[in-house]
Symmetry: D4
Subunit: 252 residues, 8 copies
């Protein structure tokens, strides 16, 4: 431990007061990562694994990054089969979650949290699955129900009731098009709803912007949103809520 | 009648064939308003009264225009009390519909059509009322239900069921914020839904654009939209549908 | 039938009042799809067939969905020849409408309704055809006239006159570029005009947004718009109007 | 209780099975607000008080709405001193929170939850205070620290450390301009961060859109955002998280 | 004339070659306004008078600028009656064109050019009049026809025919809303059409952007556009065309 | 000739006055293309050849359209070598202008007009060449100077001086990036400048929108703009000006 | 000095090693403002005075903030005469720079730096003056030349030559409209050009966005931009460059 | 030297005064590139090498341009390996900087300037390297530190301290996503910060626009921005600052 050594050296007269001070100041910079704000145990309780964005990286480079990672769990998002093949060659235990387009390395913890995930259409499933896997990697189980958009309104009532009865701590709603499902779910629920707009749609406002706007502009209180297609962010945010709710507060 | 006169003159030898043709050709331009495309009876069946946009016009100028109008029914939209006062001075039978901010001159026909109008919030009522009055002026009665947004979801189910049971020919949904009510109503209905986005909201997408986008991007089939705040257009469009549905087709 | 069974059981004393009530309440959720709002006969009169969006789905997956569909008529929109080939392998009676890029499964009903469809340019035809086929699947015949944009103004006057003389119940105007055709047609007509903006154009505002804006901002009353390229929505909306106009109101 | 009465009547033979079923089906609609999805106790645990948006409503109308409210706690947001004066005349116990521009009616519950609220600049305080009061009305105490933007970076480190040491369940970051504070706080924290962009700034992107985008586009995981200026929504969302974390799960 | 003087001085030995060269080089900068590119006679044939933008300037300051102007003709655009009053106090011969909101100082030349100006609605007249006055100040007469929008289609056919028969050299079309009039006029004409979009409209795209986009995106060849509300620019551009057409080319 | 025949028949008593009138009215529609507004000789003086937009059309379909065209001159814009090959197979005299990506069929008239075309960068040349060829097809010669952007400011001064000395009737300025060249050229010239923004640039505003905005927002009077990349429109517009300037007015 | 005291106490045995370390770690947070990154002398060399944004603050509140300020020089930007009056009452030596709408408190240092400031139009002067005063407060003199836009191109050549001859270290170009002046100045100069777009203009892109885009999209290298209307930021940035250029590097 | 020759000829009577003047005027145009504004030595001190934008140019064409260049140093940006291969064939000493996607021809000068370059993520490195190479070509060395985004906040403190201690004259911050790093670095520094937004991100605002807006909207003074992805511009701008700071002022 640096600080104590400096103190010792100073006490023993090996360092002048000026030199000791300078040494300690330099230490500010060098040890700022040990700063209470960054302390390991707090960071670890945040529990988000290392996540690499695969899109735009070559399979070879992605595999290299995966090998270098020091974290127990590594997720590679937006990964193609080619990415997986390159990673699998070097890390045989790597698994590929096709729906989420994610490569998973490492074993997930026993789930202690519980959230719900609804996806409005089949094209929203990829983002919902991203969220589910990130949450799982953080120790949070998800009750999922996909293809439950409001056009066939009654389809989502049963799954939603089930989630509420199971006492989920948050509900992620992945929806493109007009994204109205988030508002409707929130008007029926007493848990925080995380809007996850997806780039599903066509024509004017079809790249997910309409869904995002709807979630931000919702008449119903109890909604916050992540960016379009940010399944990773939605999963991490919901899992943080659930872990906080399920763990004794003196452990936080 | 021009054409016959020309024919007569030609027959009687007062006009050469060339002159007659030229006369008739000129007549094309002069009488193009008598053209079958524009013929009076068809135009009249369209039945839209003369509508003056009051906003931005001075009360005095508005009153002048109202006096000059040759139509039996004249509506002045976006009219302030000052507009009304100036109009009323010169046309004592003019009435002021405060909620719709409309001045009404002339008697409305007996209603033969029927539509429904839903407004999501209290601030949407002005536009809903604009639509109701325009429809009324065209001979279409409206069943209205206001302040029925999806945040208190159950509130609009009864009114909607009533409209469907009464067999309305179209439903106008006036909504701001995320405008999800239009999608939800359409998913429950078998009549054309006319989305009327309103400039209600705040922050990003709060000037009605989110509501408009939602209505255009709806997952539910059976919706078309008018521009933000275009209550006049929504009312006229819905009324045209209902009149067409209610009148014997040989009268169309 | 659930409800009657519960009544029976209750009457016979097999269920207490509390248990019967609970059973009936649960039934609310389970049978909400039998709810009068959703009742089959009303839904069926809406008459919109099952429509699958093919774009972005693999041919194999699309064929699977088509096989699973329970509807008599199934349409697959934005379908490539590859989609068709995969579907045709499993459903030999499937047909491919090349202009509309649609796969059609099932026989269409005898037409009872009538609408008009105008397309401004050759590139707008795909969307016009989408609308025509959806309407046909709902039992509505279309009078079509394509490549009649306002640059060669006189070209659309004859077809329009024909549509009006044939007494169409609504006119769909598919147009890209500045989309002015919708306004012009509406100024000449006494039927509801449904603006169908298409992603035809170039440079600033060329993805169909200019056409959409023009249709929303039209000086002429009697226009509502669907989203850019939403031929399916335009066809369904226009057909709903025509069916409502042509059928005896006591059947609605 | 409707259902039981129908059961009784049926059992006693006053109703036929058909009539009873019809009665019960109608009851679906009438009692859908008693549906488990809407059940009072669950809704009440959501605990969000009635909140009226004062802006754009006349003082007189606002006072009327306040009188009619059936909720124990009523908040009127975006309220001017004139609004307050009109409300106070009729409800003498109403209080005015000047910083938040909110009128408060009713007593707040003992706080059981705890959140943190940071505001980057003095102009962000109004929105932070909106959030604080909504949370307080829901039984959640806030540790606040205002005017701590990143331009004088070191200013927010102490307050943030304090919030983390006090074990807040969520941190709201109200920020305009480039909104970078939310990212920075999240990179230092292990609790969910709720981005509250404010319409503070100038020139290109100065209406809060830059702050909103920054919060959606953050490099740091653990952030979700509400709309620009939506202090009410941020407060309600954060309070819902904290209540869920602090209450025994069998009470939820 | 500088150059000759330098030549003289050099010849007479009063200047060394070096000094003469330096003098002449300095002269490059000082006399660049005499440069053939800027030569007076060419600039004068451009014939655009001095135009001051009054909006946002105080009446007093505006009057000062008007007094200082060295041009024979001075126009002050976007001028209020207050501006006029201040200018008139100091320049009694100044006139106020109320429709155009323009103050005019100086006598206009005898018109030698001829253009047409159409305005779609009454609110477009201000911009059309701006154009007319600028053209008049440049010696170009305008045939004008206002309130001739396409909603009442037939209204503009006669005026347009008249303009074409009178052989105008260009037609300015001032239009807001969907701006379709420019396309329609161009499809009927064989002269250059200058689109002058105006900030007339409402809701989405109502600040003139829809009209501008329509004019840029027109299906009809032969249109160019100026910025929204730029009546001054449209008038100057059209007048430049007409002057060029009407004057013998050896005078250009 | 229809009209005369009707007159004849009427005169001879084969038609009643009513029947003759009806016949003539029908004739309005049928002969509206002979209307003076559309009269052939005027349309021909407009002189714009038939132009087919090749992009997005298959080579085969493009060749078919080219064969069907009745115009003496046909241009196919945005044509690839594949387009050319298909056209050339069926129309051996077709030529390919590679720089402009245009296929040319037919002989151009002797030039009677004269315009200037400046292109700021090498990537702007394609659009400048489009303009040049369209103008040539209309009988207007172009003085061109390419790669003369303002970054190397002095490069365009000589070419511009040459154009002005040659007495061009209009100058097209094709420019991407910040598009400042149009303003600079206009400040140096006394001829109408047609801004042709191109989709050249990068990052924010790089798709040509910055160039378009600059041309609309120019401080210099005497500029109008066409849409981004609309070389065809710029060429046609400039050529119409020049033809009008060069031809005796009694021929117009 | 904290650190030395701790060292002393530790040496003297008043603190254990653990306590000393904890004290020093706490000190990290408390003294992070003494961190070398923030060290006073470096910060002071940055030399930017305290600047208060007056707009939207009441005169009374502004005066209070001015009194509380500890800096030798305080600037209040976007200040009205009312602001000044309130400040002057409490700080009699405060001065008001009317053109810049700035209140100045304190004496400016002797200028050691030198920059140039060009403003394209009279409406740009306010922002140019903001920049000039901020630079002056930092010890940098400005050579200014206003109303030198490119429409009268030759007007800015002399002033620019003068600035370059005086060897300015940076040139700020304040321009609205199409903002082309920045590109033109940069193409003529060998010093860094700071683009200061202003909200001057009209119609599409008239709020300064066109000028901003032009400066970002410039063909000429050597330009960077600040936000629209950010005269304060432009002045501070340019002054930082000049101070760095003019001071001996060992003083930096 | 032209001018002297004319003077001579005039003095000797070989030229009349008129002819001499005309000759000298023509000389204005021909020699404007020798104008002091453009004088070679000043331009050379600007020291920016010739930079060719490779993207969108064929390898063959790019090689040709490289051969034709007269500059000692030529850089080809956005160059692919195919570009390099074609250039290398003709210019064997050409080198390829893979990270920057740049081809380099010629030897760089000994560095006399010094700047710092930070890149937030690995995807920002390309743009940072572009800047580094352009600066190197101008004689300015860069201290670089890549992958130091604020999500792992502490990572950039050491590199930044190092840059400040080394006394860099400017710091370029390349960042995508929310671009907050630029604000944070500026709040810690006393040197000009040049924001270089990159098109890194996803969903709403992910093409670099959020980063650009953040840099323009920064709370911290001392930042100016270049366009998204404009590494070349950032490098040239920063290098111009450093060269100016490091060279004796009498050499400028």
């Amino acid at each position: 431990m640096n600080v104590k050594k400096v103190l010792e050296e100073y006490k023993e007269g090996n360092l002048s007061a000026d030199e000791a001070e300078k040494q300690l100041r330099l230490d500010y910079i060098q040890t700022i990562e040990n700063h209470t704000l960054f302390d390991k145990s707090r960071f670890n309780r945040k529990g988000i694994p290392e996540i690499v964005f695969g899109e735009g990286k070559s399979p070879v480079k992605t595999a290299e990054i995966a090998c270098r990672a020091e974290s127990d769990i590594v997720l590679i998002s937006r990964a193609s089969p080619e990415h997986y093949s390159a990673v699998h060659d070097r890390i045989p235990e790597a698994r590929y979650a096709e729906d989420a387009k994610m490569i998973i390395i490492g074993e997930f913890p026993e789930p202690t949290g519980l959230i719900g995930i609804l996806a409005a259409g089949t094209s929203d499933i990829q983002y919902a699955e991203e969220a589910r896997i990130v949450a799982a990697a953080m120790g949070v189980r998800s009750i999922t129900s996909y293809d439950v958009g409001i056009a066939a309104f009654h389809r989502f009532l049963d799954p939603l009731k089930n989630m509420l009865d199971e006492n989920v701590d948050a509900i992620i709603v992945a929806a493109g098009m007009e994204g109205a499902l988030a508002s409707v779910v929130s008007s029926f629920s007493n848990v925080p709803v995380i809007g996850l707009p997806t780039a599903v749609g066509y024509g004017f406002g079809g790249e997910g912007e309409t869904a995002l706007r709807s979630m931000l502009q919702s008449c119903s209180l109890g909604i916050a949103a992540v960016n379009i297609g940010n399944g990773v962010g939605a999963g991490a945010f919901a899992a943080m809520i659930s872990l906080r709710c399920r763990r004794p507060h003196d452990e936080l």
